[in-house]
Symmetry: C3
Subunit: 458 residues, 3 copies
C-alpha cells in the first residue's frame, strides 16, 4: 500500500490531539465543578458525626468493583474474538471507557445537581459513570473494526451526552424505573450503535471479510470476557438499587436469569447448528442475555420463577437472532453489526423493558409491603397507580428508542465527515493500521522493547 | 470418518433436548416451591423493621462473588490445558454449573426445608448451590474429554442429588463440621468422578493420546484458572461459616495453607522433574492443594502454623501423586483421570478430613471461649465431647466415600447406556465433534460470523 | 548444548532446597511467634462482646481480595509479554509472592510488634504482606529473564527485610504518610530492582535479544495483567487507609488518576510512535502510572481535579520514559530494565512522593476538619506544622532511595556469587531451561500428562 502509511500518519494525529483536548477540557471542568461529596470529603464526613461503618463505600464499593471488571475486562475481552483486531478491541475499549467515565461524571453531574453549583462525587457517581461507559461499549460493538479511534472518541463525546439526557428524562422527568438499564443502557446502546452502523454502511466490506472471524485462541480470549460478564452481572443490576433487600433480590434474580439463558442458549445453538454442533458465537454472547432481560425488573418482585422464565426466553431469542436475523440485518437493512449487539443487547433490552412494564402493572402493596417505597415511590405515595406506572415504563422505552435513533443518525453523519481518519474497506478489522504489531509466532517475533519500528506481518 | 457425522448429528439432539427438559422442569419446580427468603423479599424484610446495613447480602455477597469466579473462571480455564478441548472445557463447565446451581437450589432446599412447604432463597442458597457445582466440576475433571455433553448433563442431574444427600447426612444427621468441604465437596467430587471414570474405562484411549496434552498457550490459559482459584480460595472456605471471627480466621488459615502448598509444590516438582525442571501440570494443580486440605479445619483454631504445615503436606502429596500415582492409577486400577483430580481433590480431601478429626479432638473450651458455640455447637451444649465429635468427623469421611463409590458406580453404569452420545476412542479430547471450530492460525481463519459451517481443520 | 543440561540439573537443586529450607524455617518461626489477633481468635473475639458486623473482615477483606488479584493475576500476567518466558513470568511471580507473603508477615510483625512477644495476624497483616510482595515483584520486573529462580528466592529473602526496615523507618520513626506506597512500594521496588540489574549487567545480552520481545498472543495475555491492575488499583491504594471517608476518597482519587493517565498514554504513544501508531508496551504499562502517582496523596484532600492532573502527568512521563529513557538507561547507565519498571514505578513513584510533599504542605484544619486526625495525626495533635510534615515526607523519599540503592547493590553482589544457578547470556528470557515446555502448536504437542520428559522445541 504505497503512500498510504504516510498520509495515514498525518491523519493519525487526530487521535492524540483529541485525547489531549478532551482530557485537558475535562480536567478544567473538574477543577471548576467537581467536589467530594459528604461521604468522601474529610471535613464534611467528620462534621456529620457518622460512624465509619455507615459510609456508603462499604455498601456499594464491592459491587462497583464487579461492574468495573465487567466494563474493562468483560467488554474488552469479549470483543477480542476478531483474530486480527485484539489489540484494538481491548485497547479502544480501555481508551473509550477511561474517557467516558470522566466525561459522564460531568454530564450526569450537571443534569442531576440542579440544586447545587457543584457536582459531588463518590461511589454512586463511579457506578453511574461506569454504566454510561457500558452503554458506549455496546455501541462500539456494532461498529467495531470499521472506525478509527478518533471517530470513536468523537462518538464517545456525543453519546455520553445523549445517554445522560435520555437517562435524565426517564428516571427524573418520567419517574421510570430502570436500575440495571434494560432501556437506558442496553436498548439505548444497541440501537444507537446499530443506527450508527447503518449510516456508516460499507457496501464493499466483504473486502475485509476474511478478517471478520475468530481463531481458536481468539475465541478462548473472548470467553474470558464472557465469563467475567456472566459472573458479575448480578452485581451490575444490583449496584445502583436501594440498599438492603432490594440489592439482595436484584442480585438473586439476575443469577437465576443468567443460569436459564445459558441453558436455552446451549439448547438452541445445538438445535440450529450444523450437525448439532455448538457455535461459540452463541455461547459467548446469547448466554449473557439473561442479565440484560432483567435489567428493569430485577429489583422488582419478579419471583425466582419469573427470573428463570425471562432468562430462558432471552437466551432463546438471542441465539435465534444470531442465527437468522443478523444475516438479514446486513442484507436487507444494510446494518453491519460486528458483535451482534442487536441480539445480545437490542432485542433482550426491549424484552427487558416490556417485562418491566408487566411486572410493574402487577405490583401490589401486598407483595412489596413497606418496601414499595424503595421500588415504586410514586405508587407508594399514591401519586400513580401500578397501571399508570406501567404505562410510563412503556413510554420510557419509546423515548429511549427515539433518543437512540435520532442521536445515532446525527452522530453517524458527523462521523462520515471525510477528514476523519477511517480505515479503508480493505483494512477493516485490522490492528496493524493503528498499532505496532509483533509477529504471531515466536519465530517471527522480532520486536525487542527498545526498537522503534518492529518488523510486522506484511 | 465417513457416515459418522450424520449419525452423530442425530444423537446430538440429546443435548438440546436434555437442556430444554431440564430447564423446563426446573422452572416449573421453582414456580411451585421456591420463594424469596426474609432477606430478599420486600414485604418480609420491611415488615421486620431491619436496618438495611444488617441484610446478610453485605456479609456474604463479596465472598459469594469470589466463589462464583472460582467455579466459572477457575474450574473453566484450569481445564483448558487440553490443547484441542478448550471450547469444551470452558463451555461444558459453563453449561453444567449453570444447570447445577438451579437444580441444587431445589435439591438442597427440599432437604433443608423440612419445616416449610417452600424453599426460601438468598445469598446463602447461592453459595451452597455454587459449592455443589464445584463438586460436580471436580468429577468432570476425572472424565473430561471422554464423555459427551448429554452424558454430562445426566451425570449432573444425579450427582447433584447424591451430593445433597451426602451433605445432608453429614451436616444435619451426623452433626459433622465441614464448612469448606474437604469431605462433601473435594473427596466426594473426586472419588465420585474417579469411580465413574473406572466404570467408563476405555482400554483403547491411547488412540487419542496425542490430544491429551497441552501447548504453550493452552498452559497459559490454564494458569488463569489456577491463579483465580488460588487467590479466591480463602473466600471459598470462609463463605458459609459463621459471621465475624470465624469467617475472618478461615480466610486467614486458607491464605497461609495455600502459600505453603505453593512452595512445597515448586520444591517437589523440581526434585522429581527431569533435569530439575518444573512441570506446569504440578504448578497448575498441586499448588492449590493447600486450599483443599484446610476445607474442614479452616474454621477451627488450627493456628497459623497448623495452616502452613497442612498446606506444605498437601502440596507435597499432591505433586508426588501426579508424578508417581497417576500412571499407576491408569495401569493398575484402570482409572483414567484426565485432570488428576485424585491428586488435587482426592488425597488432599482425605487429608483434610483427617486433619479435621485431629483439630476437633484437640478442641477445648479454653481455646475457643464463647466462640465454641459457632464451631462445635454440640460440644458447647455438652451433648458431645471433643473426642466423640472427632469420631463423628471420621465417620463422616467414610459415609462420604461410600456415597461417592456407590453413587459413582451406579451413575457410571447409566452413562454406559449405548444410545447415549459418547465420543469414539479416537475422538476423545476433541472439540470438533461438539463445536464449530475455527482454524488455529489467522491464515486459516475462515469463519465469518454469519457463515453457517466454518471450514475447519480436517 | 552438550553437557550443560547435566551440570544445570545439579545446580537446579538450589531451587527445591531453598524452597524447603525457607518454608521449613518460616513454619517454625510461625509456630513460635505468630498468633491470631483479636479479630481472628475465637476466644478473644467472643470475649470482647463484639457484634459480628464490626469485625474488621467486613471492612477490609473485599479490598484485600482486589489487592491479592493484582499481585498474582496482575503482576503475573503483565510479565507474560515475553513470548518464550510466559511460564517463568507467571510461575516465578507465583512462587516469589507465595514466599514473600509469609516471610513478610514475620518481618513486618517483628518490627511492628515491639510491645508484644507475639505477632498477631488478621486481614491487616494480609494486606501488608501482599503489599510487600508487590514491591518484590516490581524489582523482579527489572531483572526478569536474566536470573534463575534460586537467585530470585534469595533476593526475596533479603528484599523483604529491607522493605520492612524502610517501611518501619518511614511510617513509624519518621511519621511519614504513604498509604498506597508511592515511596515504600513503587520507588523502593523499582530502584532496588534497577540497581540490582546494574550490578548484574550482562554486556552480551544481545545474544538473547530475539527472545526479549512479544508475540500477538503474549501481548494479549499481558493485557489481562494490565486490565486487572488498572481496575483494582483503587482498592490497592485504599486498602490500608483509615476506615470511612478516607478509604472512599482514596479509591475515588485513584479511579480518576488512572483514567487520566490512560488518555495521556494513548496520546503520547501515538505522538511518538512510528506512523502515529500505538505501542502496546506503552498501553500495557504507562496507563497504570496514574495508580502509582497518587500512592501517597490519594488519601489526602487531593481534589478530583488534582487526581486528574497527577494521572495525566504520570502517563505522559511514563510513556516518554519508555520511548526515550529506557534505551539510554541501557546504553549509558548499563541498566537492563526488562519490563521498564523505571517508567512505570520509578519515575511515577518519585513524582508521587513529591506530589505527597506538595499536598501535605497545603493541608489545613479547614480542609480536613476532624478528619485531620486520620490523615495527619501529628499535625492534628499540634506536634508538627503542615510544612514540617511536608519536609518529613521529602526526607522519607531520600531514605527510601538510600535503602533501595544500598540494598540493591549488596543483594546484587550476593546474587553474582558464581555457584548460584543463573542462565547463560544466550539463554535469557527462555522458559525451557527451568520448565518442561510443550510445543507451541497442537501438531507439536506431544506431552501427555503422564510422560516424564516431553519432547520440546529443540
Amino acid at each position: 500500500m504505497p503512500g498510504t502509511p504516510r498520509r495515514a500518519a498525518g491523519r493519525r494525529l487526530q487521535l492524540p490531539l483529541l485525547c489531549l483536548i478532551f482530557q485537558g477540557a475535562t480536567a478544567i471542568l473538574f477543577a471548576i465543578f467537581v467536589r467530594y461529596n459528604r461521604e468522601t470529603d474529610a471535613a464534611l464526613w467528620h462534621g456529620g458525626n457518622h460512624s465509619s461503618a455507615n459510609n456508603e463505600f462499604y455498601f456499594r464499593y464491592p459491587s462497583f468493583q464487579d461492574v468495573h471488571a465487567m466494563v474493562f475486562v468483560g467488554f474488552g475481552f469479549l470483543m477480542v474474538f476478531l483474530h486480527r483486531y485484539g489489540f484494538s478491541s481491548v485497547g479502544f475499549t480501555f481508551l473509550l471507557a477511561a474517557f467516558a467515565l470522566q466525561w459522564s461524571t460531568l454530564v450526569q453531574g450537571f443534569l442531576h445537581s440542579s440544586h447545587s453549583s457543584h457536582i459531588h462525587v463518590g461511589v454512586q457517581s463511579m457506578v453511574n459513570a461506569d454504566f454510561c461507559a457500558g452503554a458506549l461499549l455496546i455501541s462500539l460493538g456494532a461498529i467495531l473494526g470499521k472506525t478509527g479511534p478518533a471517530q470513536l472518541l468523537l462518538m464517545a463525546l456525543l453519546e455520553v451526552v445523549l445517554f445522560g439526557a435520555n437517562e435524565f428524562v426517564l428516571l427524573h422527568l418520567l419517574g421510570v424505573r430502570d436500575a440495571g438499564g434494560s432501556m437506558t443502557i442496553h436498548a439505548f446502546g444497541a440501537y444507537f450503535g446499530l443506527v450508527l452502523s447503518r449510516v456508516l454502511y460499507r457496501p464493499r466490506l466483504e473486502k475485509s471479510k476474511h478478517r471478520q472471524s475468530s481463531t481458536y485462541h481468539s475465541d478462548l480470549f473472548a470467553m474470558i470476557g464472557t465469563i467475567f460478564l456472566w459472573i458479575f452481572w448480578p452485581s451490575f443490576n444490583s449496584a445502583p438499587t436501594s440498599l438492603g433487600d432490594t440489592q439482595h433480590r436484584t442480585a438473586l434474580n439476575t443469577y437465576y436469569s443468567l443460569a436459564a439463558s445459558t441453558l436455552s442458549t446451549f439448547a438452541l445453538s445445538a438445535l440450529v447448528g450444523g450437525g448439532g454442533r455448538l457455535n461459540m458465537v452463541h455461547i459467548q454472547n446469547a448466554a449473557l442475555a439473561g442479565g440484560v432481560v432483567v435489567g428493569t425488573s430485577g429489583e422488582m418482585m419478579l419471583t425466582p420463577f419469573g427470573a428463570l422464565a425471562a432468562g430462558f426466553l432471552a437466551g432463546t431469542v438471542s441465539t435465534l437472532g444470531y442465527k437468522f436475523f443478523t444475516p438479514i440485518l446486513e442484507s436487507k437493512f444494510k446494518v453491519q453489526d460486528t458483535c451482534g449487539v442487536h441480539n445480545l443487547h437490542g432485542m433482550p433490552g426491549i424484552l427487558g423493558a416490556l417485562l418491566g412494564v408487566l411486572v410493574t402493572a402487577l405490583a401490589t402493596h401486598e407483595a412489596y409491603g413497606d418496601g414499595l417505597q424503595n421500588i415504586f415511590p410514586l405508587i407508594a405515595e399514591g401519586q400513580r397507580s401500578a397501571r399508570s406506572q406501567a404505562i410510563y415504563q412503556l413510554f420510557g422505552l419509546f423515548v429511549t428508542l427515539a433518543f437512540a435513533f435520532v442521536g445515532g443518525s446525527l452522530v453517524g453523519l458527523l462521523l462520515r465527515l471525510p477528514f476523519l481518519d477511517s480505515p479503508p474497506d480493505s483494512q477493516c478489522y485490522e490492528d496493524q493500521i493503528y498499532w505496532e504489531v509483533p509477529g504471531e509466532h515466536s519465530d517471527e517475533a522480532q520486536a525487542p522493547l527498545s526498537m522503534e519500528e518492529p518488523d510486522t506481518r506484511a
